[in-house]
């Protein structure tokens, strides 16, 4: 058995071993072993020059990462949570994502930024939001959301090989996800979506921390005779539309599920794309299940009530199929 956390650590170890231009930088990644213990033990193994603790200054160390990437290194920058990444948004949007374009193609920024996202651990509003859509909005970035052990293990190296900046979102509730990972598990692509469960009546489109919830919902729906297909987007920018369209044109019904807020978020993007391209194959309005539009509450029952839980997904699917009209 291995965990999502171990799989990511293993992917970092692998990258550090394969390429001496790779180094890890961020708050508490060294002596403390990472805020979520992802990099535990790596400082001892690789030394201070490659596992670098930084001051509490996101704009500073993300900027340093951009500079290192421009200078020929392959930095992995860890930001503790997506909420804190807003301090570095200027660096990410105005520098990392724009330099290739503004230099007329002369300079690319081979930078990988990892950050934790999502709620569910009673860390309250300032540590729990899902702001992936902020980054999925930006041309010049590739945005990944590993939701399985295989993706946690395999996406980092492919991202490091990308000549342009890649942002990887790790959902906080996934770190303890356990499962079997083959010892030879290797790199995976970072362009396609994946069908995680085949089905015929409705397509649940999701990613990241909502994938396990959607799989549970599909299981519950199966007990009622509703066959739900579950698609893991894996890549939030650029989205793999074909996999989604192929599925929806078969099931004729779609539910978009995201832990971000509903308004102007990723569910809106998914629904718009499906309606633009599959309109005449739709047999029901596209459903959306997202987080209630409040700052994520601290209290456990309120936090759970705000999130897109299994029951809400089941209800949306039933409505699409017409069982509970």
């Amino acid at each position: 058995m291995t965990t999502y956390r171990d799989a990511i650590r293993e992917s970092i170890r692998d990258a550090l071993t394969r390429d001496d231009r790779v180094f890890l930088m961020g708050e508490d990644v060294g002596r403390y072993g990472g805020a979520f213990a992802v990099s535990l033990g790596l400082l001892e193994e690789f030394g201070e020059s490659r596992i670098r603790d930084t001051p509490l200054s996101e704009a500073g160390f993300v900027g340093a990462g951009i500079g290192a990437a421009l200078g020929g290194m392959r930095p992995i920058v860890e930001i503790m949570t997506v909420n804190f990444s807003l301090l570095a948004l200027d660096q990410i949007l105005n520098s990392a994502a724009s330099i290739l374009h503004m230099s007329g193609g002369q300079f690319n920024v081979p930078l990988v930024i990892r950050m934790t996202t999502g709620a569910g651990r009673q860390l309250a509003a300032q540590h729990s939001h899902s702001l992936e859509c902020f980054y999925a909005h930006i041309p010049g970035l590739r945005v990944l959301a590993p939701a399985t052990l295989a993706d946690a293990r395999g996406m980092l190296w492919t991202a490091l090989e990308d000549p342009d900046p890649v942002v990887i979102f790790e959902h906080g509730t996934l770190y303890n996800l356990e499962g079997e990972l083959p010892s030879d598990a290797g790199v995976v692509d970072i362009h396609s979506a994946a069908v995680r469960r085949p089905g015929t009546d409705v397509t649940l489109i999701t990613y990241g921390g909502s994938l396990p919830t959607c799989l549970s919902a599909a299981e519950a729906l199966a007990a009622e005779g509703i066959s739900a297909e579950v698609i893991d987007l894996r890549v939030l920018r650029p989205m793999d539309d074909e996999t989604v369209y192929e599925s929806v044109c078969r099931t004729h019904r779609a539910i978009a599920v995201d832990e971000g807020w509903r308004s102007v978020g990723l569910t809106a993007e998914m629904a718009a794309r499906v309606s633009e391209n599959c309109f005449y194959d739709l047999d029901a309005p596209i459903g959306r299940v997202a987080t209630v539009e409040v700052p994520i509450p601290y209290a456990k029952h309120l936090e759970q009530a705000a999130l897109p839980g299994c029951q809400r997904i089941v209800d949306a699917a039933r409505q699409a199929v017409g069982v509970h009209g």
């Binding site: 192929e246 044109c249 005449y280 739709l282 047999d283 017409g322 009209g325």
Partner: protein, 418 residues
């Protein structure tokens, strides 16, 4: 092969009405087989299939009108059946069609889309229906007002449309066929009736095409009188040796001469699309056929320039008969590269035609009549026909047009070579 779509059978066709299927699910089909008859408002056209395969499912019921490009049947690659997926996962709408085992699902034939008398309107006005349900209803010719929604919110889903189709099928005497009969056991089909023609629709189609022609194509015209005494004398001698069924009409000679001219002057034989002309290497001669009771249709005599005269005559007779009976093939409707109008049959002295877009020329023959004719300084009487050419000035000039007419004249002076 996958979806077989409603073909475009001419520049003026935007939709077609499926009149009849000639195949059943499970039937093997071969390139060139006629699988359906479609009404295009100008004529009933027999639709050929272009690849070998097996009919999986008929998606459109007779009587339904669908847009050009709409899938009307699913045809699998011949014999390559793979059981890729459970049959219930199959859908005619999947972008990547996969063959299904013929045994896995009983093929279904949808009955004509008639409303069963017992049905009552469920909704007055525009019913709420999903986009897919609306599309399926249009394909099957089903009135959504008669469809009972199963959903609690009252919105019609595709399943409701399918249920209604099944209900109609059960009500009609041509009930759902679950197993296609072996070809030998299939009951003999009723002799095919000429389908009823919608004359108003045909008039509208002609109006729109001819208005487009006059709006877009700068026509120029030339004409020439041609002495036919050699041609008719040769024909008379030829016909005196032939039984009635093999006699050749002067019209066949004129068509052959026109086809030869089209081959020698490529600027009048081809298509002009978006201002750019492409000459055709083959000559498919559109033959304007007037229809009893009004209307006009110009199906193509394929490769007319290569046909021996007797063969051309046989084909022409067949084409005229089928055009008037409303039984043309798709390729005959869409492939003409230049058209001939033969109004002289009805007595006019000459006819200056209107070009069928996207073609670039129309050749007209007037009545063959005896006229005074000067030969070597002497006046004599000869059978004469006035040949005209209307051609597209974007593609050719009058000089080239004149050469085409000269080529027709020359051909008619050596009928034995036609």
């Amino acid at each position: 092969m996958g979806d077989f779509r409603m073909p475009s059978l001419g520049a003026d066709m935007s939709e077609g009405t499926l009149l009849e299927w000639h195949v059943h699910p499970g039937d093997a089909v071969h390139r060139g087989d006629i699988i359906a008859t479609v009404d295009t408002s100008k004529s009933a056209i027999d639709i050929e299939v272009f690849e070998d395969g097996q009919v999986e499912e008929l998606l459109v019921a007779p009587g339904a009108t669908v847009a050009v490009g709409t899938p009307i049947a699913r045809i699998s690659d011949g014999g390559l059946h793979r059981d890729v997926r459970a049959p219930e996962a199959q859908s005619p709408l999947a972008p990547s069609p996969e063959a299904q085992s013929p045994a896995a699902e009983a093929p279904k034939v949808t009955a004509p889309a008639v409303e069963s008398p017992a049905a009552e309107k469920v909704v007055v006005g525009r019913p709420h229906a999903s986009p897919l349900a609306r599309r399926r209803a249009a394909e099957l010719g089903i009135d959504l007002g008669y469809v009972q929604p199963a959903r609690r919110d009252g919105v019609i889903g595709v399943g409701d449309v399918d249920a209604r189709a099944a209900e109609i099928a059960a009500a009609a005497s041509t009930a759902t066929v679950t197993v296609p009969p072996a070809p030998a056991e299939r009951p003999t089909r009723e002799p095919r009736q000429a389908p009823k023609r919608d004359e108003a629709a045909m008039r509208q189609a002609i109006a729109s095409l001819m208005a487009r022609s006059k709006r877009e194509i700068p026509h120029y015209y030339c004409q020439q009188a041609v002495d036919l005494h050699l041609a008719l004398a040769w024909l008379q001698a030829e016909n005196s040796r032939r039984p009635v069924a093999e006699r050749i009409l002067p019209a066949a000679l004129l068509l052959k001469a026109a086809a030869r001219a089209a081959r020698s002057v490529p600027e009048i034989n081809g298509f002009c699309v978006d201002g750019s002309f492409t000459a055709s290497a083959r000559v498919h001669l559109g033959v304007a056929v007037s229809l009893r009771g009004g209307g006009l249709i110009a199906p193509a005599l394929l490769d007319a320039d290569d046909l021996p005269l007797a063969e051309l005559m046989t084909r022409m007779k067949d084409l005229v008969t089928r055009a008037r009976g409303g039984r043309l093939k798709a390729s005959e409707m869409s492939d003409a590269t230049v058209t001939v109008t033969n109004l002289g049959e009805q007595g006019v002295e000459s006819v200056l035609g209107v070009i069928y877009p996207p073609q670039v020329a129309v050749i007209g023959f007037g009545r063959i009549a005896e006229r005074p004719w000067a030969v070597d300084g002497m006046l004599t009487v000869r059978p004469v026909v006035t040949v005209t050419l209307a051609a597209d000035h974007r593609v050719s000039d009058g000089h080239r047009g004149g050469q085409a007419l000269a080529a027709i004249e020359a051909a008619l002076q050596a009928p034995e070579n036609l």
